[in-house]
């Protein structure tokens, strides 16, 4: 147990760049540390795009598998590991949306049927995040993307611009319009007063 703790402390001391450098050389343990460091963030990012937990888990794992395979082939050093992982996740989400066929829409889920009936209670439970995912799913993809990056994953304007491949000013405009729509949804169901 003490060993595990020591390893954990040591792992925390490793920077992203150090873990990436070791991973490039084939150090699977280092890559495992990187995985644990970003597991929650990438999972959350994917979940609020898909609204499906098991799909989010699978895609999260796939993101890191692709990252492992891509690391030794990268011609340029990775300047921002977090942004790079989000970028991989973003591409996977897009591919997933393109390839998956008929999926039951979120509003058909039984646990969402009575959301409007008790919204304040939903905010206190785990299903509230599912409700948020549902609301986000009704936004345009770019609006959803900017809100997830900014307010769910806590990326700065610059980082969001990097993940989305846009200029920072464009992200600010998208953020404004996305929040406007989000506010309308929330007002419509009476959650925000």
């Amino acid at each position: 147990m003490a060993t595990n703790t020591a390893e954990t402390v040591g792992t925390q001391l490793d920077t992203d760049d150090a873990l990436v450098a070791r991973s490039i050389k084939g150090d699977a343990a280092a890559f495992g540390d990187l995985y644990e460091r970003y597991l929650d963030q990438i999972y959350r990012y994917i979940f609020y795009h898909t609204g499906n937990r098991s799909e989010a888990e699978d895609l999260t794992e796939t993101v890191f598998l692709k990252a492992w395979q891509a690391l030794p082939k990268n011609r340029k050093p990775i300047e921002n590991v977090r942004a790079w992982l989000y970028r991989l996740a973003h591409n996977l989400v897009i591919d997933s949306h393109r390839t998956r066929k008929q999926v039951a829409p979120l509003e058909d889920h039984p646990h969402l049927q009575d959301r409007g009936a008790s919204p304040e209670k939903a905010l206190q439970t785990k299903e509230e995040s599912q409700q948020l995912a549902y609301q986000l799913s009704r936004l345009k993809p770019q609006f959803r993307q900017v809100l997830v990056c900014r307010f769910i994953n806590g990326l700065s304007h610059a980082e969001t611009a990097a993940v989305m491949g846009l200029k920072e000013n464009h992200v600010r405009v998208l953020q404004y319009r996305a929040l406007q729509e989000m506010r309308q949804f929330m007002t419509g169901i009476g959650e925000v007063t």
């Binding site: 890559f31 999972y43 888990e57 492992w68 050093p77 900014r150 769910i152 404004y176 989000m182 925000v192």
Partner: protein, 421 residues
């Protein structure tokens, strides 16, 4: 101009996230947008508050192990990736525009091809028959011959290349590689034949213009013949036919050219190499500043009044053939010092003065052509107009291995006796 609302919103969000301001501070700062900003900030805060989704505990507990079990081993990187890794991440032409990139690539390719060709051609110059790149050497020569403009250039190039062949044969003998002599001998025959044909085809009225070249050809043929004669006893009987062939070529073409261009003066030649020279003090010549150099051959000035008109040969390839030393002057002309001391047993008189103590060598005594005694450095008297002595065929005593003169025991026809395979 007022600040756009999306920038105001972004500034407020940044200030709140960093803790520099509260939502209330932002609303107070922008009263004109207070209502709209309040709704937008509330929406953002709602998302941040609600978005607490985390992976299930069951997933988290096995996630690392499950992922590590799926990780494939890294594939070995390609050689290009290894070069990039060694060179650095900046090893790429991508930052350049496409046109510049293509132009740079094309220029690099052309440079490599050009430099490679030059390098190979240069490297092949020292090649000998039987060497890997000897064909390149001869191909370059063929190209130069094909590009030669005019009779003069053609003759000079052929003579230059013929001398190369002589040097090659000499080197082959020195390196104990006589099996390749026949290759050089055949090409020697081709060069000599072309030069002779070029000169003998000149109309009689124009031959005065080519006297110098004819003398040069005679010099080359004489020198070649002597060199072959010296090489002959150094190779076994199996490989002597190649030298016989080359020597017969020289003698046969010498007869042809001297028939068309009767020599006024007999050419005297420098020894091909120090190793083959008759000895110190003999057969050396001085190249005067008035002489012209063509393809490594020094041409004499046209019939000077005070010096013999003798073409002198200098080395054709580095360190190989015919390097004149600054002493002595060939002298087939009447004796300038008045006390002729003929050397050897050669017939025609007058004999030149021999100022050196060195005795004539067997080469000098070769009966085929001219008597070649040692000579004084500069003649005191100008040459007379007496005709050139006619070479005799008398064999000096003691000469047992001297080849037979042409037209007696054998009449070689170089073009019909190829000895190469």
């Amino acid at each position: 101009m007022s600040e756009p609302i999306h920038d105001i919103l972004a500034s407020c969000l940044d200030a709140v996230e960093s803790g520099d301001a509260t939502p209330g501070d932002c609303l107070a700062r922008y009263p004109q947008h207070q209502d709209e900003l309040a709704g937008l900030l509330a929406a953002a805060q709602h998302i941040e508050t609600v978005a607490r989704e985390r992976p299930a505990a069951e997933f988290r507990s096995v996630a690392r192990t499950r992922l590590l079990n799926q990780l494939p081993a890294h594939e070995p990187s390609s050689w290009l990736d290894q070069i990039r890794a060694w060179w650095g991440a900046e090893f790429t032409l991508r930052p350049l525009p496409a046109l510049a990139r293509n132009a740079l690539t094309a220029a690099l390719f052309i440079f490599l091809v050009f430099a490679g060709s030059i390098g190979v051609a240069k490297a092949s110059e020292s090649q000998l028959p039987g060497d890997r790149f000897y064909a390149i050497k001869t191909a370059v020569e063929d190209v130069r011959l094909a590009a030669a403009a005019g009779r003069d250039a053609d003759v000079k190039l052929n003579l230059s290349f013929a001398l190369r062949r002589v040097v090659e044969m000499q080197t082959l003998v020195e390196q104990d590689r006589p099996e390749h002599l026949q290759i050089a001998a055949r090409r020697y025959e081709q060069h000599i034949k072309h030069a002779t044909m070029d000169l003998t085809a000149v109309p009689a009225a124009d031959r005065d213009r080519y006297t110098d070249l004819a003398n040069l050809l005679i010099s080359v043929l004489t020198t070649s013949s002597r060199t072959f004669a010296l090489l002959l006893p150094q190779v076994s009987a199996d490989f002597q036919p190649a030298l016989d062939f080359a020597m017969a070529t020289a003698e046969y073409n010498l007869k042809l050219v001297t028939t068309v261009y009767p020599p006024e003066t007999m050419p005297v030649l420098a020894s091909p190499t120090p190793g083959l020279s008759a000895g110190p003090g003999t057969m050396t010549a001085t190249a005067t500043p008035t002489q012209k150099t063509v393809e490594g051959i020094i041409l004499p000035t046209a019939h000077p009044s005070g010096t013999p008109t003798v073409p002198l040969l200098v080395s054709v390839t580095p360190g190989a053939l015919l390097t004149p030393t600054p002493t002595g002057t060939p002298l087939p002309t009447p004796t300038p010092t008045g006390t002729p001391a003929p050397t050897g047993t050669l017939v025609p008189t007058p004999t030149p003065t021999a100022t050196n103590a060195a005795s004539p060598t067997p080469v000098v005594a070769t009966p085929t052509f001219t008597p070649l005694p040692t000579a004084t450095h500069t003649p005191v008297q100008p040459p007379t107009n007496t005709p050139e002595p006619i070479p005799t065929k008398q064999t000096p005593p003691g000469q047992t291995d001297t080849p037979e003169p042409p037209g007696q025991t054998k009449t070689p026809k170089p073009t019909k006796t190829p000895k190469t395979n």
